[in-house]
């Protein structure tokens, strides 16, 4: 009996402690993330995107397999603001990359919704999952590099982005990438930003965190002097967080491609044709407006030319 009471008290103390911890941490309520609100405009863009002429899909080709299955197996993430972010309330993944994958699935299957099956990939697994056929295509802010092109085929580039710099709002000493030498700079472990950073500021001390929010926290708490990643993501973060700001213009070029299996040459040609189609009919620009355009001001940029970078 005594031990039962004692165990109960210990459990009670434990739970109290955890609740106390949680309530401490709750003080700063996060504003809603972009993309978590109304998605009707986004849905309309996908529904209005083109559908392939069934005659254009060669029997037995990559696209034919997807059409027979009825869903496109997509490799990507659900934690990338602006590009592919899951709304925990509805379970819906939206963003520029997610939208493109849904458009491609729409193009092949003709179904405007429920046409993709997302497999979460990381930088560590993308090439392997494509090689072994777990996913049909990877949409994951996947920068085209010659090393990667040796393992997977890249359609595109479909978007050209660049890494920019985020600092604390009161910082006036960091303006360009050269100012990062000798500083502590945070970035995401799963991004090629670290490679661009090593090139632009070889003297920077790099900290790799797993997620965007952790990198922002590191800057806010003074653990890192700056945070370097895709400019769109930084602008999105800074738009909801007054403690940080984005400085200067992008110092690198990141051409994003769609990762496809290397062993099926029909895939790359087919997806490139589809990209040309959505460039031409305005679906690409409309998707940009419904996603990245919600935080980056101005008109949609001109889409990059297909096959314009090494490895694509």
């Amino acid at each position: 009996m005594r031990t039962t009471i004692r165990r109960f008290l210990a459990a009670l103390a434990t739970v109290t402690f955890m609740v106390a911890l949680a309530s401490c941490a709750d003080s700063g309520t996060a504003p809603p993330l972009p993309g978590s609100a109304d998605t009707s405009r986004y849905d309309a863009v996908i529904a209005a995107s083109p559908v392939a002429d069934p005659a254009a899909i060669t029997p037995g080709s990559w696209a034919d397999k997807v059409r027979q299955r009825g869903t496109l197996n997509v490799g990507g993430t659900d934690a990338g603001p602006l590009f592919s972010l899951k709304d925990p309330a509805t379970g819906k993944v939206t963003g520029f990359d997610a939208g493109l994958s849904q458009m491609l699935a729409h193009y092949i299957t003709g179904k405007p919704t429920d046409n993709t099956a997302l497999t979460i990939t990381t930088v560590d697994t993308r090439e392997t999952l494509l090689e072994n056929g777990t996913v049909d295509a990877v949409f994951a802010t996947y920068t085209i590099t010659p090393q990667r092109a040796a393992k997977v085929a890249f359609a595109g580039p479909y978007y050209s982005s660049g890494d920019a710099i985020m600092v604390k709002a009161d910082n006036t000493t960091i303006r360009t990438a050269a100012d990062l030498n000798g500083r502590t700079v945070a970035t995401q472990a799963n991004s090629t930003a670290v490679l661009a950073l090593q090139k632009a500021a070889p003297g920077a001390n790099v900290l790799l965190f797993q997620e965007d929010a952790q990198c922002v926290a590191a800057v806010q708490q003074g653990r890192a002097d700056a945070y370097v990643i895709d400019q769109g993501i930084l602008i999105s973060d800074a738009s909801t967080n007054p403690a940080v700001k984005v400085v200067g213009e992008p110092f690198s070029t990141e051409p994003y491609g769609i990762g496809l299996p290397l062993n099926d040459p029909t895939a790359k040609a087919f997806v490139n044709d589809w990209l040309e189609a959505i460039y031409a009919d305005g679906s690409w620009a409309n998707l940009w407006k419904a996603t990245i355009g919600t935080v980056v001001s101005g008109d949609p940029p001109a889409p990059p030319a297909i096959g314009s970078v090494e490895g694509s």
């Binding site: 004692r6 008290l9 210990a10 459990a11 103390a13 434990t14 402690f17 955890m18 911890l21 941490a25 930088v123 560590d124 697994t125 090439e127 392997t128 590099t145 090393q147 990667r148 040796a150 393992k151 945070a186 472990a189 799963n190 991004s191 090629t192 670290v194 490679l195 900290l207 790799l208 965190f209 797993q210 952790q214 926290a217 590191a218 708490q221 003074g222 653990r223």
Partner: protein
């Protein structure tokens, strides 16, 4: 394989950080865990309760949560430690909960009669523990402690998530450059395996030395 041979120094540097984290984490866990075990078997109720609460909180919480709280939570109340220190402290604090239970389990294997005999000879609680209970108890603790050592060594890879440049973190960096995930993670996996096997070997040798020969 070339990516490994070209960057072997970088990887071995990461292995060194992993070994340092493991050594510091395990040493800290041994110290703190033994103190906690003494709390839990002590005759003083508040100490027993404190020991129990500590073990139940730290043992039932994912190490990754602890790391993220430590690294990103503490600066909000004005306490900022370096990433390496944070990771080492978290590993030690986490391991201590398990060490405490292993030590307490070891203590419980010593027959009550031994403690009673010691007390009837006039030994204090501390003397009883140090000279009568712990020496034979340690023998039965070796294998559980080896398990905890391995747990800490492998758990140190979670420090990669909070930016410590250890083996897993460096493997991820190299994969970004080379897109050779399978080769790289095989190599770093083999390094973790070597650490764990080494821990097991040392534990086995220690156990043989401590074992009482049957006469």
């Amino acid at each position: 394989m070339q990516v490994v041979t070209d960057n072997i120094g970088f990887l071995l540097g990461g292995l060194l950080v992993t070994l340092e984290l493991t050594a510091l984490g395990f040493a800290g866990a041994l110290l703190l865990g033994t103190v906690l075990a003494v709390f839990r078997v002590s005759p003083i109720p508040p100490l027993r309760v404190a020991g129990t609460v500590y073990v139940e909180v730290l043992r039932n919480m994912p190490l990754l949560s602890l790391l993220v709280l430590f690294v990103f939570g503490l600066p909000d109340i004005g306490l900022t430690f370096s990433l390496f220190t944070s990771a080492a402290v978290c590993l030690a604090a986490f391991g201590a909960a398990f060490v405490c239970e292993a030590v307490r389990g070891g203590i419980n294997t010593v027959a009550v009669g031994q403690a009673e005999a010691a007390r009837s000879l006039g030994l204090t609680f501390t003397q009883t523990l140090l000279h009568v209970i712990l020496p034979p108890a340690f023998r039965t603790m070796v294998q559980p402690l080896v398990n905890i050592f391995i747990g800490i060594a492998l758990g140190s890879s979670l420090a990669a998530a909070v930016g410590v440049s250890e083996l897993t973190n460096r493997t991820q960096v190299l994969n970004l450059q080379s897109a050779q995930a399978v080769v790289l993670f095989l190599v770093s996996g083999a390094m973790y395996l070597a650490i764990a096997l080494l821990g097991g070997l040392v534990g086995g040798a220690l156990e043989r030395r401590l074992s009482v020969r049957s006469r």
